[in-house]
Symmetry: C2
Subunit: 249 residues, 2 copies
DNA sequence: GAGTGGTCTAGACCACGCA
DNA sequence: GCGTGGTCTAGACCACTCA
């Protein structure tokens, strides 16, 4: 552990909850090898003393790690580090950018803009985003790479009717989420549907799968005020990305 | 609301947490139409007074409903009932039997046993279950119906080497989970992977999809002691079941 | 029986939204 | 500015595991 700093109430520009800070510290310790797969973490009481936080806070941190499939909690026994292989593994209920996930698993992420358009919303898009048909949107088509291998093709639609042109222009350059953050539309929640898809019409370029089999993550992102800010269809190429879900009672 | 009974600490044979009880009561109220889609639930403080529980408990209840995509929480504003259509919608991170989910959505569930075998575990099964190759297992193939329409085909494997024959015999008759519960192997956690699958070899009977497209939920169930108790491959027929994931930061 | 995680409480204060 | 949800605490007691 040996962190100790960085963790403090006081809310000194604290946009990150204490629980998350503890979770990140524990995650780093695990990744660094302080706790080997199969070994036991310190007890919740110990951790709470180490970080000087309440046990409730420690528990929220551990729940986060658990939902990422990183640790396993056994009642009456302890919390144990999971063993996981080298594939890209993402906890499906963690909302984070795909690039971020790829990076954290030790691969080099890259996105490639294939098309970009400012146009009226289709009927489907309008319904999902809760706007009128014909509302102006920015539409993007991107390929997402991990170590130069296509992991997913993503189609994103962002309502832009009332957005200053200087912001509209920035979509397609750099991280979509950082632009959204700047204009105050940072997604905090997404409701996603999962569908299997087979199509030879999805994707492009030399790595386009022959008779492509994809896992479609069909999701609408909402900001903290409940406004729909992005409608995304991300087609994950089967076999290159491991989506994990921890299911509990 | 107007429940009031059933909710009490005291732990009179309470295997169900207070939070879950409150969640169930709220869920029932929503399903009954007490709160229409889009309308606001009472505030957390109000609910905690109504049910005579702490606000923390109310919050765990609301988190459950949120993860099922049933309500939407907006900071500073309130908790609102989501609008969802007539399709079967399951929160992917809730561990519950499929039949249970189907029933709760207002359909009539039915499972049909197609095959059943007691045999040695394959290499793959042994690895996933953490047992030796050749370990005796019960293997079942079942079709799961909602209102007489096939929703999924499920392949379940249960380690049975040391299980009394009288229990082994019961798998395939009635609910798999109730048998597991009786013998003390009730799953409390499952780690699932999601994959798209296309195959004409999955399924049987007149409703077998032509060129079947499925969402495969590939999962190992664990009991509270961390023992692997079931290895399931469930192939959901695309279009008949809506898997929802709430993703949060 | 000692030690671990699971549940619950009452109370405090912060951040946000909305009028 | 009031009411809403968000975070955090200290302490209590229960249920479970394991030696």
């Amino acid at each position: 552990m040996s962190e100790g700093s960085e963790i403090h109430p006081g809310f000194t520009r604290a946009r990150v909850s204490l629980g998350r800070q503890v979770a990140e510290a524990l995650r780093a310790a695990i990744m660094k090898g302080d706790y080997a797969p199969g070994s036991r973490l310190p007890s919740e009481t110990d951790i709470s003393e180490t970080f000087q936080v309440s046990r409730v806070t420690v528990r929220t941190a551990i729940k986060m790690l658990e939902s990422q499939g990183l640790v396993e909690v056994r009642h009456g026994s302890g919390t144990y580090v999971c063993d996981f292989g080298g594939r890209i593994r993402a906890g499906a209920q963690e909302l984070r950018s795909i690039s971020e996930t790829i990076q954290e698993m030790g691969f080099v992420p890259r996105t490639e803009l294939h098309a970009r358009d400012v146009r009226p919303a289709t009927e489907d898009e309008a319904e999902r985003l809760g706007v009128e048909v014909g509302f102006t949107v920015v539409a993007m088509e991107r390929a997402i790479y991990a170590d130069n291998e296509v992991v997913a093709y993503s189609f994103d639609v962002i309502p832009a009717e009332n957005l200053p042109a200087r912001f509209v222009a920035r979509f397609g350059t750099g991280s979509m989420f950082s632009v959204l953050d700047e204009i105050g539309y940072m997604p905090t929640r997404a409701l996603a549907e999962l569908h299997p898809v087979q199509s030879s019409e999805i994707g492009w370029g030399p790595q386009r799968p022959e008779r492509g089999l994809f896992l479609l993550l069909d999701q609408v992102h909402f900001d903290r005020r409940g406004r729909a800010v992005v409608y995304s269809k991300t087609y994950f190429v089967e076999g290159r990305f491991q989506f994990v879900i921890l299911r509990t009672r």
